[in-house]
Amino acid sequence: MKTLFDKIWDAHVVQQVEDGPIQLYIDRLYCHEVTSPQAFQGLRERGLKCFRPDHIYCMPDHNTPTHDQDKPIEDPVSRTQVDTLAKNAEEFGLTHFGMMNPKNGIIHVVGPERGLTLPGMTIVCGDSHTSTHGAVGAVAFGIGTSEVEMVLASQCILQTRPKTMRITIDGTLGKGVTAKDVALYMMSKMTTSGATGYFVEYAGSAIRSLTMEGRLTLCNLSIEMGARGGMVAPDEVTFEYLKGRDYAPKGEDWEKAVAYWRTLKSDDDAVFDKEVRFDAADIEPMITYGTNPGMGMGITQHIPTTEGMGDVERASFEKSMAYMGFQPGEQLLGKPIDYVFLGACTNGRIEDFRAFASIAKGRRKAANVTAWLVPGSWLVDAQIREEGLDKVLEAAGFEIRQPGCSACLAMNDDKIPAGKYAVSTSNRNFEGRQGPGSRTLLASPLMAAAAAVTGVITDPRELL
């Protein structure tokens, strides 16, 4: 009778507060440098220690430069924030993977790839893309800094129980259609608030067929539909991915863990508060045209017109078109672009670099394009080199940078200049997200590669 979400959530309820929220136990807290300093400061002001330091892992990722990480960060404010995390981790006795540590990278890439993120866990971080970790079959969600302080102080958080939604996608994904396209398609149908208040489980044959990397991309973007989180029931793909990773259980413990993890699926008669279905065959390579991730369309489609919109909706849409420099009703194919960004917690994994390289191989980067290729972690960087993808990409005129969040939100030097167009594999196309005045077109690594080698918005299927 229980959903996957219910099983994990219920196993973590410490108490139901009278006429109030639930006190939920947290297995993992991840901390990065941007949303944690005020939480540590709060602990200090209250004279508290960390309640369960062994459940907490810290690493800088947002401010880190994507070059010369062996040298001090040039921007003094960024440097202070990164140093503050290291000092806080030391003071409160927490594990910290600093810059240049082989385990460093984007927190949402590192957690799963090091086996810190495991099925059945509750996982939080002061970062909305914490939803990523749900891909292994965990309840993972983003929180604010006050809530980070709660977890530091008590290993718990107070939360209202979200409603449950199942999104089922059956069928086979077409050529050139990736997990990113599936997510952008869902957002375009659901809007950026369509799943607000819900925890989403993704199901169906098209979801089952995704690799672990694909599932991580999909769950990463759950927040862009407003969902509290997203999850996929663990299966052989999950176990295969996690086996042997640094922090995953070993030997007999592994066998025991897998036996428990196999119980983590929605019962056949489980009832969801909402059920949504999509057909994999309807999804083509996607691109966004506006200033929120729900404003996306198939690459061959036209931007919508304002017909039938209410006043507030039309004002918001027109503001977005003016910002992007696009006209309602037009197509994007063939439009010149200026920047390409491959990376972020959305698409900074090995599979994303393989996809990009599959199109770049034997071609050349277009002269009008500046391309930033940023691995999600040092481990991804090592895999790229092991597989020789660095050679393929270098031969095509691309350079691999050092890991971090980079141009996804431009807290380091990787900023898209005002008015310039960037085809980006990141997660948000909000105004100014990639630098003041930047214009972001969200897409898959295949679409990004197609734009990088042609210099214009291109249907990647033509180059496969």
């Binding site: 009278e18 005020q38 924030q81 809530e147 709660m150 290993q155 929120n292």
Partner: protein, 201 residues
Amino acid sequence: MKQKFNVITSTCVPLPLENVDTDQIIPARFLKATTREEKFFGDNLFRDWRYNADGSLNQDFVLNDPTYGGQILVAGKNFGSGSSREHAAWAIAGYGFRVVVSSFFADIHKNNELNNFVLPVVVSESFLQELFDSIYKDPKMEVEVNLPAQTITNKATGRSETFEINAYKKHCLMNGLDDVDFLVENRGKVEEYERRSVHRE
């Protein structure tokens, strides 16, 4: 920051846009502070809408229009979507808003507002539309937000709606208490939970 909340009667600042995301409320380049500098965040609230690229004031933006002011921000649906940054709530509080009214809030931001003693009030679409109309007709009109009674009243039209908030959080807001205080008091229950739960790792 822990300003007790009871009844607020104030004029309003209208922002009739949908899907206002937290990157607009406070852009990422202002997130590098390591302390809760409310004034700094408040000064940069809606930074890229409030200022032109050259640093001059954008006279078309509502915060720069002396016609409108007050402690209540009224915005279109899906307010606070996107990034979890609590700096957005600090910016709203730092600017001097005590209440945000919308027909729909994004989850994380809503919690962040509550944790900073800013009250998110969810109203119906028709109440919201009427409220925008009333503000534009008379910018000096006032709205009463009554937390004990859980009501919001448009004093120009007399229309009133009730809003939801759980009893625990209402108690916290009215008494200036926060969740960390509660959770630290309940550490014993956590230890009990750890003992009884079959640990999954």
